[in-house]
Symmetry: C2
Subunit: 436 residues, 2 copies
Amino acid sequence: MKPINVGLLGIGTVGSGTFKVLQRNSEEISRRAGCAIRMTVVADKDTARAKAVVGDAARVTADANEVVNSPDVDIVVELIGGYGIAKELILKAIANGKHVVTANKALLALHGNEIFAAARAKGVMVAFEAAVGGGIPIIKSLREGLTANRIEWIAGIINGTSNFILSEMRAKGAAFADVLKEAQRMGYAEADPTFDIEGVDAAHKLSIMAAIGFGIPVQFEKAHVEGISKLTQDDIRYAEELGYRIKLLGIAKRKATGFELRVHPTLIPSSQLIANVEGVMNAILVKGDAVGQTMYYGAGAGSEPTASAVVADLVDVARMLTADPQNRVPHLAFQHDQLSAVPILPMGEVETSYYLRLRVVDKAGVLADITRILADQDISIEALVQKEPHAGEQHVDIIMLTHLTQEKKIDAAIQRIEALPVVDGKITRIRMEALQ
Amino acid sequence: MKPINVGLLGIGTVGSGTFKVLQRNSEEISRRAGCAIRMTVVADKDTARAKAVVGDAARVTADANEVVNSPDVDIVVELIGGYGIAKELILKAIANGKHVVTANKALLALHGNEIFAAARAKGVMVAFEAAVGGGIPIIKSLREGLTANRIEWIAGIINGTSNFILSEMRAKGAAFADVLKEAQRMGYAEADPTFDIEGVDAAHKLSIMAAIGFGIPVQFEKAHVEGISKLTQDDIRYAEELGYRIKLLGIAKRKATGFELRVHPTLIPSSQLIANVEGVMNAILVKGDAVGQTMYYGAGAGSEPTASAVVADLVDVARMLTADPQNRVPHLAFQHDQLSAVPILPMGEVETSYYLRLRVVDKAGVLADITRILADQDISIEALVQKEPHAGEQHVDIIMLTHLTQEKKIDAAIQRIEALPVVDGKITRIRMEALQ
């Protein structure tokens, strides 16, 4: 298969992430796509910045028209943002018969219907997984994964900046203005944070999800939009006392007479999984009549998380361009002749930490014997708790948490410890994972 | 577009769910797929049971060969389960050039490589979203949504029965054997629960996810498999004291020398979102090098949740059969000429409940005035808290939670309450959602 050539418009945070991911994972990506996907030309006004990222790997130009007009470019990735030049360039790319991948939620929320119509007329794809929820494949899940369902509602934490601010206000008891300043310092909020904190960005994303979920045109202008700038510490504390958390939610709901479309601070029961989504993370809860509730969680912004979605769209287009039924998406994700022979490791080689519980006779020297055996196997102990003996019993429970070690080492240690005369019965061993 | 004809093998729990969802949502499904998808023939040994479900809407036969050999059937849905007859029928369907949709994780875990090779040779699709995580689109997310990533690890709660038992053991302090009996009574565990509680079912699913995530063949036979039947109340309690929850996880992890593939009870920090997934729900955490952690949550089993995945596969195949680039998956999920004109409701029509906070002069009759205004608007109060006045202050905070009402009613009430001379300043209003 001949390689797919990608032209990039705008190499800021997400653009450079996209370039890096395509380079770093080129082998895995082409094993999945069935052909190489390479970025051949990058347009950015700041050509020095662009060159610093791409080096000699791609041509750099200050003229975006070079990208959208180039006969060598198969797919144009638009990462400029905004409504003006970005729209013009996307329409030009479409007119030139190029597929388009964009992360531009503002543009799609306001002009999506027009852009999609232009793409249909030319028979090209416009893909926009990166427009909602960063790297979370929420567009694909709504558009392809939940097609069996009548979608009843969608409720999402879809603006990381706001969620970070609300999380910090709750955790630290700090005021909105102070946390906003901290968020700006950490790069989680922009110098002009209006779109994030006033709910506009969330409403852009919500109107796109609502269109896909309900089968209606994109209607950002009909959304009720309310942000978090007026929330006080009092409200967060009172809500907590009543068993709730306050989150900025985008909500789209099917009703008998129409659809609700609204972004506003919302009290949610603390017991809900989505109420516990903290910091800059995003999560979208979708209620379908067949599937019930499903939730999608991940980083909603950032260079490589968003690039993950951009590149997934590129692979989608590449697979479509090579499409014949068995080949568009390979059964096992990677092309069938590209499966790897790297082995599954035997359990003895697996590395994890361990919870160990054992019953021992409560007398001097027992702990020394046990810890000596562990030390002999290079197993170090993170925590050790000796429980009080039950009334009238000679035996006590000892619980130990180990640091990372190998399964075969713990096997050997357990065998030796169980052989100690002071140890009663079998040792219970449960593996631990921090999932970090 | 001519309709797609589906033949069903086995109309048990998932099969009848699939039939019902296809019927109930036929209009939305064909608006998405671009053609009608109809179940025309059902094979089940128990023809009476089959007829009770499908009525006159489909032909019923006791002979499964009629389905896989029928020239009228485009897609065969296999929901018999097991390794014997199911495998034989799938291979026959493939040999006859039919696409196959299956939920049979056991079969794919043991014979997937052979089945996929047969499908490739005949140029047909074998889709199996329903094999892992019920209605959660995890196969699609791994195979299409995260294609940019080098997958580092996958860790999932992928057996609802085990998770229900562990949740109940923790919540009620009950013993494994008692909770297992309760689960059997509630239909969450089978008469022979071995596959669920001993980790075999989870290992089937894990070996499929690992293949897709890492680009390796399906290798169930290499998995380490350990269940929950030996877990005691002591361990659950001790883990809790140390800040952990015990979950049955399927873990697939990339290491320098190979891949780990293991199912076992696992201590996870309680602060992790996935540690708080309770009952029969499933959740899969995926770590990719670009996207970071993403999580997918939903019902992992059950009639309609699993049917949701089966039907999504049917739509996928249908869209592929009609494929030209702009048409396979429409931009807005529904075919462009099938968007609905149902309106977005004005905010005044939106129904929700409310958190209200107001400052009032602390004197008799104030509450009566306020509650009278709310009653005039038919707004009923779920909770009302009057805070103690701060030292030396005449004003107190009142916090109210209302029952469901309309935004325009609360607007009217707020306007009247704010006009009361005893009320100080503006009322804070935050909307509430139970997300049930």
